[in-house]
Symmetry: C2
Subunit: 215 residues, 2 copies
């Protein structure tokens, strides 16, 4: 008796993409696309109705992202492997995928060969991350460490003042608002500049916006 084919669920809000993956998985006898879903909710319904071994999911979808979907799948069906597929390989995306503990992450410009490599790795060894993704992961590990130190060690008061600065209040106005001396605000200001490695208020605003420290 043959080993059973690996049963695959494809999740993507773009029908074209689902068809693309299906066409890549035609004419072979290891994997079988047994279900498809256009969003996370439909994917979860599909998982309740049939046994699935591997989920291939897009990351950007309406209502529920591939990340959220992965987290739910991992908590309800820890034995199911998840491969996330994405257009972009930026830092934020990769970090989120790591957090969600997906077994694989490939880009949408992946060819047939790499898709099979990923599916095989995931169903046998455990994980698959493309070289592109791995090199970005290494960059993150290096860079994130030091920026984390700078970002996170702003004190509560400093955060409060940073927010007021971004809201266009001057040091004097902030002082009035917080019932403290303008000189104190100035001190906080300079400490904030130093901690965020900003030279001027322009850099600080950009930094605050880029790092989501405000709003």
């Amino acid at each position: 008796m043959d080993l059973q084919k690996q049963r695959i669920l494809i999740v993507d809000d773009h029908q074209m993409f689902i068809d693309g993956v299906k066409s890549l998985l035609r004419n072979q006898n290891i994997f079988s696309v047994v279900a498809e879903a256009l969003d996370g909710k439909l994917a979860l319904e599909a998982l309740e109705n049939q046994e699935i071994d591997i989920v291939i999911s897009d990351i950007n979808m309406p209502n529920m992202s591939g990340i959220e979907l992965t987290k739910i799948i991992k908590s309800k069906y820890p034995e199911i492997k998840v491969i996330i597929v994405s257009m972009h390989n930026d830092r934020d995306t990769i970090t989120e995928i790591m957090m969600a503990e997906a077994e694989g992450y490939i880009l949408k410009n992946t060819g047939k060969k790499e898709l099979f490599d990923a599916l095989n790795s995931v169903s046998n060894y455990g994980t698959y991350y493309s070289n592109e993704v791995l090199s970005i992961m290494m960059e993150i590990v290096k860079k994130e460490k030091k920026s984390e130190k700078a970002v996170k060690n702003l004190t509560e008061r400093e955060f409060e003042i940073l927010n007021l600065i971004v809201q266009e209040f001057s040091s004097e106005e902030i002082a009035e608002k917080l019932f403290i001396s303008k000189r104190t605000v100035d001190t906080h200001r300079i400490n904030i500049l130093n901690k965020t490695n900003s030279k001027t208020i322009v850099g600080l605003i950009k930094y605050a916006i880029a790092n989501n420290l405000v709003e």
Copy 2:
């Protein structure tokens, strides 16, 4: 004798997408995918080597965007119809597509039916824009008009200086860089603040970032 099939070239840096479109265009006798290309350069080569009636192109591609490709196609082969396919339907994208004068614009979550509608419209009437796109176009026409006044009436020089401000150069440094007086830069600065309704440089930076006037 039959009418010749409409010859289609698909351009996308994601092989999966090309396969998806091809699978949607299987089993019918109006359109025929006779060529595919993974980027704009290869697409232009393909156009030199064979007759094409309709180009279906992705918008986000490395080296040359679908917009740039469309512009080149339109200047060299004005009789070829172009349908742009995109993930997103944001204002900027739609505006650019209008500028490039593509005959059609559909989203990647388009199903078989809409793809055929688009292809038929484009090869017969002339253009096809999905309802989603049309409604966004109307919003643009309404909103863009008023923000245009504030945003767009920055002069080239003012844009240049705004960019340098955002890059954390002081008025003095900007003056040196542009070989003009610091007083001139100051004047520009104040005009920029007025035109963007910003009270302080903090507001200006936020405004510039929010409106994509920089980077």
